[in-house]
Symmetry: C2
Subunit: 277 residues, 2 copies
């Protein structure tokens, strides 16, 4: 496994690659969700690049950029075990030099859900992903369904800007107790971890209501809200029942509706979602 | 010469090309300035793509998008004569479908000069150029020095977003009388054409003063302004004496200073520039 820590070396290396490249962008501190992305990518591409870059521009000024968990050596050994070919790990300084002024921005769907709570988040995501795509030039890039809105935003960017690659969605990985894998789960103490199960429980409740024939989005939302509010450590940021392309809130639930939520457990903000089908 | 009028055909064609591609983006209604770009590109690339696309998003709401001159048959015959390999001519509808919401934006240097007069112009330029680069995937793209700020903005976008190509600057082509070639020169009647010579005359005056040892930017600007104001058909939009990277106005002129101006001649807004050296 080759570890590349600067853009020019990555470019040079990329020039010599003639096979289609698979790409998994990460912010490191890898968990089974990331490994699932890597495994998917490995089966579909003869050469696989994983990036580790905690992207400063997607964190808001009051968010956890500095304390975001990092463990590069552990990440390397996990990726090596999966036979990743190249780990790309550029520096903040090289990715965002002092005179950096260019942004890629998807409008409209970024105003909702995560974008409403984190107004500059997706601008940071799309910009860094565009940069990484230009450096790595993958044929396929892999993103988790866990960050459902991010996935839609990146697909929109790729379509609108005619980027020459395929975006592959990989299902959310969960702990045995249902908690969606996230690097931020490390912030939870055992009591909070237990409380955090309410996210998936409320999504499962939505799914159950849907399967039982409930089509009224407001009723499903209220049931979810009622369940979460019974958990004293949980504070709802949003519960959304929306179209899985436009992210417009729905009154009547249809197949492929995206049910998503953001809930603060103590000081940790968690997100999760399911598609109704 | 192959004429391709849709993105998917262009993509398919591009996939089959294994040599480095040269690319000249144009808005059509080609003049000797464009042909000079094509000739430069032809010497440096074994395969050359020219795009013709009057990009609606770089025109302001009160600007000349609808009346912008078009003559596709003439353009084809000019490009065929230069042995261009592929002409890419997508439709507005395919480039900007109804749900298009993604923009590439360079900040700061786009606030000045043309950007100050045309606040949404460069956002349209960078977005369409990013799209075209993604579709054509050139090794080199050619732009005229005539649009000096556009050139800087595109170079900045390419650097900031790590786009994988080289931007080549081609000198401004002029009529024998000094008027910079522009598709918009068609708007000038003979009297206006004569009046429009004052742009290059004032730039030549700046160059002369510089060669004579004048280093005070304000004096050079005033001399240019004085000359232009003698021309009753001319109305100055701006005269700028600026750093050729940051576009910050200079008090003291140094080598490679960009002297640029925008002047309305009757109803036609013209731009021109020189680099002092």
């Amino acid at each position: 496994m080759k570890i590349v820590d600067n853009i020019s070396e990555m470019r040079l290396l990329r020039q010599q690659i003639t096979v289609p490249v698979g790409f998994v962008p990460t912010m490191g501190y890898l968990h089974e969700g990331h490994i699932s992305l890597v495994k998917h990518a490995k089966t579909e591409n003869s050469l696989l690049v994983v990036s580790i870059f905690v992207n400063p521009t997607q964190f808001g000024p009051t968010e956890d950029f500095k304390q975001y968990p990092r463990d590069t050596q552990r990440d390397f050994s996990l990726l090596d075990r999966e036979n990743v070919d190249i780990v790309f790990m550029p520096s903040d300084e090289e990715m965002y030099p002092g005179d950096f002024t260019t942004w890629v921005e998807v409008n409209q769907i970024t105003d909702r859900l995560e974008g409403a709570s984190r107004p500059t988040h997706f601008k940071g995501v799309t910009t860094v992903v565009a940069k990484l795509f230009n450096i790595i030039q993958p044929a396929r890039a892999y993103f988790g369904q866990k960050d459902a809105q991010q996935l839609l935003v990146i697909k929109k960017m790729v379509a609108d800007l005619n980027m020459n690659l395929e975006i592959i969605t990989v299902p959310t990985m969960r702990e045995p107790d249902g908690l969606a894998m996230s690097s931020r789960n490390i912030y939870l103490n055992p009591k909070e971890h237990q409380a955090a199960l309410v996210l998936y429980q409320s999504l499962s409740l939505a799914h159950k209501l849907w399967r039982q024939g409930e089509r009224n989005a407001e009723i499903i939302r209220q049931e979810m809200e009622y369940l979460i509010k019974k958990q004293p450590l949980a504070e709802i940021n949003y519960i959304s029942i929306a179209d899985n392309n436009s992210l417009e809130e729905l009154d009547t639930v249809i197949p492929q509706t995206l049910v998503s939520l953001a809930v603060k457990i103590g000081r940790t903000r968690l997100i999760d979602n399911i598609l109704l089908k």
